[in-house]
């Protein structure tokens, strides 16, 4: 299956984390439980369009689109 940026999937679609495009950001994301192989879902988007809230590793995490775009999902 082809890889897409997390920001390119629709709200409510469950995807699986594949890899990251930015090493520095990936460290923070990994620590917060965004691990390759983990399922991930965009839960909602802030009223002004950014940041977004995602469901991952059993909780809700918010992050800016800039950071979310470094997560590749399948």
């Amino acid at each position: 299956m082809e890889l897409r940026k997390l920001t390119d999937i629709e709200i409510g679609t469950v995807a699986t984390i594949d890899s990251f495009t930015d090493e520095e950001t990936s460290i923070l994301l990994l620590e917060m439980g965004c691990l390759p192989g983990e399922s991930i879902e965009i839960s909602n988007i802030a009223p002004l369009g950014d940041p977004i809230a995602i469901k991952v590793s059993g909780y809700k995490l918010s992050l800016r689109k800039k950071e979310a775009a470094t997560i590749l999902v399948r």
């Binding site: 917060m32 839960s43 009223p47 590793s57 059993g58 909780y59 995490l61 800016r64």
Partner: protein
């Protein structure tokens, strides 16, 4: 026999760590700062059994031992060095039982540091309701550390937790390493272990990662670690990625047969529904503004009564002391310097308490995280961060606790800008100044029959403060450069009912911090001001004394007797005092703003604390203290005219210019002191003082010239 030992409480944010801390220590808490840094240090007495008492320290919430904020850094600093006075004998790791996976990351790191740990599974009640089944005994067996299920909010499992702490203190069980750390950088770890004479792989690995930010290392040691790293091409990022992934693999294996989730958690579903409303595109923002408006209203309405009580109490004390103390310089100091200083601090307590009541509730329920989430996009444009919202809102009450609450912002640049712009927010100390000035020139009329015109102008002043804070942030963004990228990663915790004891303790602690931090500065400054306003070149003072010493038998002074005469003497003395001289000295500089030397005195005296303006005005216009000082000072000010030109001293242009000056100038020594501590240096508070005051001067100048 009493044995004293240290227990540390550590855990992710939103795990109910503070609730557990409160449950373990009660109100037996001490708040201070860690030496050399400005992070709040909360300790308490933990009575374990009749002959064993520990000192419990609450470490700031952190997700791992890779710190991101000043708060998180402290945990690393303490746990990394056995010589640290706070180095714990036992560490209690608090985790949210409904969200074990991410919470256990920190635990595995602590185990690998060979620290005796106790795992406290908090919020077990919520976990059970959500259909999460945790096999506690098996979990303890697999992890190799004691595990205790607790529900901190209704004190369940507390005694079992205490027993486990005692057990780990007396006969610690230390499991072997959770992952193979040595493999990430064998040579680096070995050399660091040799150099420091330690035998723990993870401690050495941590040093390789964090040596540059550890305050307890000498430069020589830092250089040595750096050299070792360079020698073997140590890649900090890659090894950290590998470590994190390995840890999660270990955790997944542990959790595979110890935790079972039977149904989608009810709390979570409810939380999602709430999020759909509370962070909705339109309603979300609307609800936020309604809440903000309510908070704003309550700060003023609810605190009115207690503020009057405090004010009257001080008038009572003043009258009492005046009556019983012998007249003299010391009595003057107490009544004219110390008492006003104390009341100047305590008068703001009600507003601060009400504000933190709301902030504590909003934070405890999880709503504040949503506000941060919604506001980040807007704040980002101005060099700020969603997390700047709490400091900015707190700034409405007082910049001192507000600036301290900026500690949770990880990115240094975002935090610095937040600290810098928070004093623009209209704080309580500006309120009496605005109230007095507005009453001078704005008629007490209603627009559309219900909107007070004076109230609208006051609101405009608050809006002006907020807008200038944003603009200042935008400007600073262009000037401050950092290597570290601004990012925003924040947990959105499940919505919960507020825990009232937490809310109460938060209010108590914030109020205490305010009294201690702002209080000592305001008190000291009031005393200095009293000296400046009471003493002057002695020949001028003698002349006044002589003038009034001769009994006023002639007809020119018939109107003056008793208190009125005293007031006149007081006013003339103020004019001759050092403060008065200063006012006259700066008159040429403030004339273009529309101020005379009398206003100059008020500018000088209120330089350390804005609210002093009103008191100075009443002294200058020799108001008799009859409890209605504000009305009287207002009338006197309205009548005041320039003796040369005959024009009103407080013309519309002058008053507007004054309001603008007070809106922008940094006239607060307490803020100066707190910025000094929070930024670890004199540079930023000085820049803040000069730019804000210069801007205030220019803006007031422009306003006066345009309006006059």
């Amino acid at each position: 026999m009493n044995k004293q030992f240290n227990v540390a409480l550590i855990g992710n944010p939103n795990t109910g760590k503070s609730t557990l801390f409160n449950a373990l220590t009660g109100l037996n808490q001490k708040i201070g700062n860690f030496s050399g840094v400005t992070v709040e240090r909360k300790t308490g007495k933990l009575e374990l059994n009749e002959n064993l008492t520990a000192s419990l320290i609450d470490l700031p919430g952190t997700y791992s031992l890779y710190p991101r904020s000043a708060d998180e850094h402290i945990a690393l600093e303490i746990l990394n060095s056995t010589k640290n006075p706070d180095y714990p004998n036992v560490v209690v790791v608090v985790v949210d039982a409904t969200n074990l996976k991410r919470n256990l990351l920190l635990l595995t790191q602590l185990i690998d540091l060979q620290l005796p740990v106790v795992l406290a599974l908090n919020m077990m009640d919520v976990a059970q309701q959500s259909g999460i089944e945790i096999k506690v005994t098996l979990l303890a067996e697999k992890l190799g550390v004691p595990v205790v299920a607790v529900t901190a909010r209704d004190l369940q499992g507390i005694s079992a937790l205490k027993d486990a702490i005692v057990q780990q203190f007396e006969h610690p069980t230390l499991p072997s390493s959770t992952i193979n750390i040595h493999g990430y950088a064998p040579e680096v770890i070995d050399e660091i272990k040799n150099y420091f004479h330690i035998n723990n792989d993870y401690a050495a690995f941590e040093l390789a990662h964090h040596y540059h930010e550890l305050n307890n290392l000498t430069q020589e040691k830092k250089d040595a670690i750096e050299a070792i790293g360079l020698k073997y091409n140590f890649n900090a990022n890659k090894t950290q990625v590998a470590e994190t992934i390995d840890r999660y693999n270990y955790i997944n294996e542990i959790l595979s047969d110890t935790v079972r989730k039977n149904k989608p958690a009810l709390e979570e579903t409810r939380s999602n529904t709430l999020d759909a409303i509370l962070t909705h595109r339109i309603f979300g923002l609307l609800i936020f503004f309604v809440i903000l408006f309510g908070v704003f209203q309550s700060i003023f309405n609810w605190s009115q009564y207690p503020m009057n009580v405090i004010e009257n109490a001080f008038i009572g004390i003043e009258n009492y002391l005046t009556a019983i103390l012998p007249a003299g310089i010391l009595t003057n100091l107490i009544i004219g310097g110390i008492l006003p200083g104390m009341s100047g601090v305590l008068i703001f307590l009600p507003q601060i308490a009400v504000l933190f009541l709301f902030i504590a509730i909003l934070e405890d329920t999880g709503y504040m995280a949503r506000v941060t989430f919604m506001m980040d996009r807007l704040m980002k444009n101005f060099g700020l961060n969603g997390k700047s919202v709490v400091p900015l809102i707190s700034g409405i009450a007082c910049a001192v606790p507000a600036i301290m609450s900026a500690r949770s912002i990880e990115n240094w640049k975002d935090r610095l800008i937040t600290i810098f712009v928070t004093p623009f927010m209209s704080c309580s100390a500006r309120l009496p100044v605005y109230t007095l000035l507005i009453s001078l020139v704005v008629p007490n009329k209603f627009v559309f029959g219900f909107l007070s015109l004076q109230g609208l102008i006051l609101m405009a002043m608050y809006l002006l403060g907020f807008v200038s804070a944003l603009l200042a942030g935008w400007l600073l963004k262009l000037f401050i450069k950092t290597k570290s990228k601004s990012y925003f990663l924040m947990e959105l915790p499940v919505y919960r009912m507020p825990r009232w004891s937490n809310v109460g303790i938060t209010i108590f602690n914030k109020a205490r911090t305010f009294v201690v931090q702002a209080g000592k500065v305001i008190l000291a400054v009031s005393i200095i001001l009293w000296v400046l306003a009471t003493f002057g070149p002695s020949k001028d003072f003698d002349a006044i004394e002589k003038k009034y010493a001769t009994k006023p038998s002639d007809s020119t002074t018939i109107a003056l007797h008793g208190t009125a005469l005293e007031s006149k003497i007081k006013a003339e003395k103020l004019e001759a005092s050092y403060a008065g001289l200063l006012g006259k000295f700066i008159e040429p500089a403030i004339k273009p703003l529309g101020y005379d030397w009398k206003i100059g005195i008020a500018l000088v005296t209120s330089f350390a604390a804005r609210e002093v303006f009103v008191g100075t005005m009443s002294t200058i216009y020799s108001v008799q203290d009859d409890g209605e000082s504000l009305t009287t000072v207002r009338e006197k000010m309205l009548e005041a005219r320039n003796p040369e030109t005959g024009e009103l001293t407080f013309s519309f242009a002058t008053v507007m210019s004054l309001m603008i000056f007070y809106a922008f100038a940094m006239q607060c020594m307490s803020t100066f002191a707190v910025v000094y501590r929070e930024t670890n240096g004199i540079k930023w508070p000085l820049i803040q003082l000069f730019t804000m005051t210069a801007f205030a001067y220019l803006a007031a100048f422009a306003v006066y010239q345009l309006l006059s």
